[in-house]
Symmetry: C2
Subunit: 258 residues, 2 copies
Amino acid sequence: MEENQRPLIFIGNDDGYQAGGIKYLADIARQYGDVFIAAPSTHQSGKSSALTVETPLRAKLVESDPCGHVTFYHVNGTPADCIKLAVNKLMPRQPNIILSGINHGYNSGNSAIYSGTMGIVFEGSFLNVPSIGFSYGDYSADADFSPCEPIVRHMIELAVAGKLPAEVCYNVNIPKCEHVNGIKVTSASMGKWVEEFDSRIDPHGNTYYWLTGKYMPNNPDDDTQDLYWLQRGFATVVPCRADQTAHAAIPDIAKLIK
Amino acid sequence: MEENQRPLIFIGNDDGYQAGGIKYLADIARQYGDVFIAAPSTHQSGKSSALTVETPLRAKLVESDPCGHVTFYHVNGTPADCIKLAVNKLMPRQPNIILSGINHGYNSGNSAIYSGTMGIVFEGSFLNVPSIGFSYGDYSADADFSPCEPIVRHMIELAVAGKLPAEVCYNVNIPKCEHVNGIKVTSASMGKWVEEFDSRIDPHGNTYYWLTGKYMPNNPDDDTQDLYWLQRGFATVVPCRADQTAHAAIPDIAKLIK
């Protein structure tokens, strides 16, 4: 039964199960293995690694085939809920590869900390499974993802071949260009957000605020960072770690705190 | 006007503005400076660095004094929303210190990735302001936080004295003991969650799931990790970084991905 040897590929996202990006990613991934999709019922952008603790989750089957090549659920929770529920309760076995996206819009630089796309990927890395998030620089609902195809295939092929170390996970961003100029492995640019809120007055005279804001990289000319290359038409791969400890700082801090 | 020289201390949490832990932390902090509290209107545990992007935020004043020594808002958003809105729209100037908690329950090991308490702290670290999260090993709403006092004072005093580097931020966990045995500066324990969901059947015959689960550290006997010391009655301080890049992995990954 050679079929049983096909890799099992988990796919999630944060734009919701009806987004074009997840369909595009699944259509490529199913050429490399069986795909199991569990995506949020609704739009979950900016949800980071948030979990749903105060309400129960439900999973609704969207599509499945009797051979198990494609299984597609949506879940009324966050991206991290989706992968946790799938791995624990819905999937027939542990996935061999975890994919997330393709996100409608970038998750570059330290903005990735807010990303639900990356919430799935960090969760995947706790499972010691190669985990890759894909984000594309087109924010529109009807984005054409075809420029992503060679990069998505390259990453999946490395993962299927067992060449992608699972000690780290991968944040892949792809610029909106007809043909990308290449791929750069970089660090995430670090920056700040400015003018973060738009204040308005409601008809009752009360103030409310919309989150908005512009990202300002601390070092825009640093060619070791993802934003630099995205702005020059290159796709970027940032190896990430879910371990938040600043290991190198421990000895100095230990001298201060006793 | 010596009064104007007092440090401005931001305080947030994820248990909501009515939680005992934030009141306890603010009562200590106001002895060291002016406090500005912006806490979620409702319970926001497990919200990580999530942001509210699809609905507007509102801030309600709970308390203020005319001299600006204490200002207290609640905000209908996540912990990260609270600090972003406060720093951008509500506070008279940038804070000198950012505190979060005291959380009702631990945020130790890699569970911290889900923590709204730490969501505030990571946000603070993007501002280059010393940022400290406090979590206590008592999950009850009416927890007695008095064992936390010496550790909270120690950390605030280091921050007020300008001795706490802002290149990293701080995840402080305090065990539920009448007197803690000391403080250890450690890394976060890495582990996995098992039996993560409790499945039930509703009266209509449909399955639903509650998130639950047990944390299993990968290396429970590793004395460089926080969980080891918490279980032995020590408070722990984990220096953390918001930068998610796995810098050391970049050269090897760059050889793979071209």
